[in-house]
Symmetry: C2
Subunit: 223 residues, 2 copies
DNA sequence: GCAAAAGTGTTCCAGATACACCCATGA
DNA sequence: TCATGGGTGTATCTGGAACACTTTTGC
């Protein structure tokens, strides 16, 4: 079945987590031409026998030292044609978004200097990767509005302030505290625990917990 | 750059239009094994030098005799891995959805008996094509709620009843006439004309027209 | 007692829903 | 005049937006 010569098939990964009250994305520094020394999304070629998803897992491990189990939600984004602007020539890139917490990319010799950057303060990027990140950010913005997707970016037990801060980091705008709590609690996506978080000279905050740690749609939309 | 052996890259097209108050999808009858004689989405292999979109256009023309200019909205859907259930072995299929009106697939010797089927009454399909159609239908259902996408399924001049019938066909549920009109008119996606449609022993219906014949988001969501 | 974050309710407005009759035409 | 689909308005309800003070703790 190799009578057909296909375009080159690649996968690129948009790995995001929250840190310092902002949404961050994992980038690597390219070791080779083209775009040597520039930042880019971790990505690579899909080889025979791999699914796009398993390829994403393998490449993420080898290029950025990120273990799959740290990703709590993985979703395919879009498939980009890379004719224009890609010096390697014609190709097709399947992109995945992965969300998690405390992702610490390893800095071994194998990997390519992986590090997280705030999505609102990205360096200049190779290829059309700035577009891909913008697309992922839009997808996430819309997804947190009608699903519980944000569970993937928060610890298992979290305060309502942490939850609100997470929404604000993703949506890039401030939210009203009272309305946020009233509305989110009415969605039946989380339940309270009897645990409290004590951290400083102020009233302790009650800890909450998601009902499901898998993606589910909420009845009403959030925003 | 052929040091890497990629999975086979394919494109499959979900072409839809309205007919007989129902949403229909274009299928072909497979001429060859595997699944010879079964119905399937028109699709084929992407060859070197093609983008996924240009491949979709070429294949649609050759397998189903559908000219591109009849498609008023084309959108990439999702990229499916076809390891399981595909006797040809491992592959990746990029799927596109195309919407139009009065698409008359040609029945020349080149094409593979293309014909439209109501999405609610599909024959048994080859591969995982039933899933792909269900995915496209869901995408369309959600898209008509927050965009003017339905323009692609209606004539340039249309009555509000036609518009409502189109929504009902896509959403698979009845809508209240007064509320539908009030709400849709408030979205500022269409404007009235001074033309009327006369067709039978009843009051003529005013014709309306979309403001834009390109995809645009509406401020509020429809449903 | 004071600084710091947690927690809490009401008012107002816009949009959603439910619902039934008159209008214009062709036969 | 009658059959057929076109066209219209109101009352009610629910959810969204705006907005400020009290509570609990550590120091």
């Amino acid at each position: 079945m190799t009578a057909y010569q296909s375009p080159i098939l690649m996968v690129d990964s948009v790995i995001m987590q929250l840190a310092n009250d902002s949404l961050q994305v994992l980038l690597i520094k390219r070791a080779h031409e083209p775009f040597q020394g520039m930042y880019a999304l971790p990505g690579g070629y899909i080889v025979a026998g791999e699914t796009t998803l398993s390829s994403h897992e393998r490449i993420l491990g080898s290029k950025a030292g990120v273990e799959q189990q740290l990703l709590r939600l993985v979703e395919q984004l879009y498939t980009f044609d890379t004719v224009a602007g890609d010096p390697r020539g014609h190709g097709v890139s399947v992109t995945y978004m992965g969300l998690g917490i405390e992702i610490n990319p390893s800095l071994s010799a194998e990997t390519q200097q992986p590090a997280f950057f705030a999505v609102n303060a990205l360096p200049r990027l190779a290829y059309d990767h700035a577009e891909i990140i913008a697309y992922a950010h839009e997808r996430l913005k819309s997804k947190v509005n009608y699903t519980n997707a944000i569970f993937a970016l928060l610890p298992v037990y979290f305060t309502l302030t942490q939850l609100q801060t997470a929404y604000e980091a993703i949506l890039c705008r401030p939210l009203d505290k009272r309305n946020f709590r009233k509305k989110f609690l009415s969605l039946d996506l989380i339940h309270e625990t009897n645990e409290y978080q004590r951290d400083g000279a102020h009233r302790p905050a009650r800890l909450f917990c998601f009902n499901e740690m898998r993606l589910e749609r909420s009845t009403r939309s959030f925003d």
